[in-house]
């Protein structure tokens, strides 16, 4: 083998950086809110417009319906602490953001959550993550990103383990915003 082998070294260094990054913080998730009111961030009335998975400079859209986008947004907001299905439902019901979701558009879009439904919703979110991981070539178990933890009793707690960032589209710029 002759010629320029420098690309090999560069790719090895890049892979090592990615490995260190993924071992520490998990994949990167970007949540896009639209209908943002001027001067506010993540205020009631905004919509969880899209959720994207980022890896190696690429982003792919997670194919999630409204209920799952709301749940994943909530888990991202509260990812510092594992929660049971009952705690998740209580948090969603109590939050004005989810009660008034999308209200700034003039057509609110909300969903009701039940404790018995959370487990199935978590399973579906993991399915969407699995497909996104495959699309970006990320070999990761979705169960290691949206994790389930047992407790001393029979209760299961859920927690999102990922880097998350939120971006906002102002109310007057929705039509002109382009997705990557």
């Amino acid at each position: 083998m002759s010629g320029d082998l420098q690309p090999i070294v560069e790719h090895v260094e890049l892979l090592l950086s990615e490995l260190a990054e993924s071992l520490q913080a998990g994949p990167r998730i970007r949540i896009v809110h639209r209908f943002q009111s001027a001067g506010t961030i993540c205020k009631a009335g905004e919509e969880v417009w899209a959720i994207l998975l980022g890896y190696r400079g690429r982003e792919v859209l997670l194919a999630l319906p409204l209920a799952l986008r709301l749940l994943l947004n909530y888990l991202a907001e509260t990812r510092h602490i594992p929660q049971s299905a009952a705690q998740i439902v209580a948090g969603l019901r109590r939050s004005a953001f989810y009660a008034k979701h999308g209200a700034n558009s003039g057509a609110p879009s909300t969903r009701r959550f039940s404790r018995s439904g959370i487990k199935e919703y978590v399973k579906r979110i993991r399915g969407a993550l699995q497909r996104a991981f495959r699309d970006v070539g990320l070999d990761l178990d979705p169960g290691d990103v949206l994790i389930s933890k047992g407790t001393v009793g029979n209760e299961v707690q859920y927690q999102l383990r990922a880097r998350v960032e939120w971006t906002h589209v102002p109310e007057d710029r929705t039509n002109g915003w382009s997705r990557r």
Binding site: H11, V12, L15, E18, G137, D139, L140
Partner: protein
């Protein structure tokens, strides 16, 4: 400083890549065992590099072995496939879907 495993390389190519990576301070292992043996050793490495220039069954078997290991144990080792022969975007895409990074070298 990382532990790197080279698979499916011919001796001359292995020697060149080995010297290059050792010069950068990495620990390099050049493995000649078949893919059925490799799975038990993968936990020792940070990066596995497979020479796919021949696009042979052995190379693809190694890729599958690493992919299966990562599916069970996590993102380590990372997988880098190199090729000295350009085989088009489909070739690279198929490997990337298995979690590999692909680089063409001359």
């Amino acid at each position: 400083m990382a532990h790197i495993l080279l698979l499916n390389f011919d001796p001359a190519a292995a020697k060149a890549v080995d010297a290059l990576l050792r010069g950068k301070g990495h620990h390099v292992t050049v493995e000649a065992s078949d893919h059925s043996q490799i799975a038990s050793d993968l936990h020792r490495f940070d990066v596995v590099m497979i020479d796919m220039s021949l696009d042979n069954a052995a190379g693809h078997a190694y890729v599958t072995a690493v992919r299966n290991h990562r599916a069970e144990h996590g993102p380590r080792p990372m997988l880098l496939c190199i090729s000295r022969i350009y085989r088009g975007p489909r070739f690279a895409l198929d490997l990337e879907r298995k979690g590999a990074r692909v680089v063409y070298v001359r």
